[in-house]
Symmetry: C2
Subunit: 215 residues, 2 copies
């Protein structure tokens, strides 16, 4: 019974995601669904990405949080269009939430729309929102056991940003295990090791991302 | 419609939680629901807690993960009874999952049962499992904005373990903001600052926890 309800919710979600995707394609905007656990550094990665790319790409952002506008304010300070969604309790964004705010986003003027999902390593990976690509951010401070414990997001993502590598000298995270377990789950996964504090690795990541847009 | 379904699920859950609680009370076991984001260090806190208390308290553990038995193996190595629940995809434990494994746990021989929930800062706080107390672990590496972004878990918890304080010199986490925002959400919250790497702060936390059992 419970499974049937969940299946029906996912099917309804996928139909709306297809509609969103049509709007994105008509506007010629490349859409990234950015996911990760709370505190992985999704907003910091987004800030670094916008700073690196905003002269060459017109980027818009949809921020998903349970409550509050902190992240939207951080992104708005960079001078790009941003809409904040408050889920009110839901632990992930769904296609309908995105659909409802698309009129507030100048899609025709954008090259890329980045949707920052609610901080959660589980459910966001189950709900399509009409994106071209799912990306995830994992902080190395979360430990090396995350790929095997939360496999779906690693499987669903095209890219994995391993963030906070400036902290590696002070912890016992086994980066080979993170890389190997991630690639075992998803051999096509593109992995980027970055620090939003020092800026290390940001160039390689943003060059890859902007290359996808023009591909 | 969706809200109605969710309400019905929560009501059914609460009924089973009451049944679980009766079994815990009959056995005289104090039950802790341990929650936190992926990588906050819940299992490490649990290991430190068991090492500190196992001579004075008989502790059992239920481990909740989407897949795998890594955490149960870590706990089992400490010589305490442990049962692993795999949710298969669900992002939280519910009362029924706990009910189904209670026959595998020697409740009559335990003083305390610690249930480590799935790594998630959102949904575990919504589902009672029959516990006496909810506890949460937050890694200081997750940043100081978490209380205001994920308020429910802070409101529902009796205690907050701020873990990985050994990393504080290498990051810009504002601990006053974490403490003040947490206490604004929940003035009765007991806050413990610990490092599972160095052992700092573990004594104060475990003394408080064992005092609750005998209270």
């Amino acid at each position: 019974m419970k499974v049937k309800v969940v299946t029906r919710i996912l099917e309804a979600n996928d139909r709306i995601a297809v509609e969103n995707r049509k709007r994105f394609d008509q506007a010629g905007v490349f859409v990234v669904n950015l996911m990760g656990a709370p505190g992985a550094g999704k907003t910091s990665v987004l800030e670094r990405t916008i700073r690196a790319l905003k002269d060459s790409l017109k980027i818009g952002v949809i921020e998903g949080d349970i409550v509050g506008t902190d992240d939207a304010e951080r992104i708005s300070a960079l001078g790009v269009p941003v809409v904040q969604i408050n889920t009110g309790g839901a632990c992930h964004l769904d296609a309908n939430m995105i659909s409802e705010v698309l009129d507030d986003m100048p899609l025709d003027k954008l090259d890329m729309l980045i949707i920052e999902n609610v901080g959660n390593l589980v459910c966001p990976a189950e709900f399509k929102v009409g994106e071209d690509m799912k990306m995830m951010v994992l902080s190395v401070a979360e430990g090396h056991d995350k790929p095997l414990k939360y496999p779906l997001m690693f499987r669903e993502s095209s890219g994995l940003v391993l963030n906070k590598i400036d902290l590696l000298p002070y912890m016992n995270t086994d980066m080979n295990k993170v890389r190997n377990d991630s690639l075992a789950l998803n051999p096509k996964l593109n992995i980027f090791e970055v620090s939003c504090t020092t800026g290390e690795g940001i160039d390689r990541w943003t060059q890859w991302l902007s290359g996808l847009r023009s591909a």
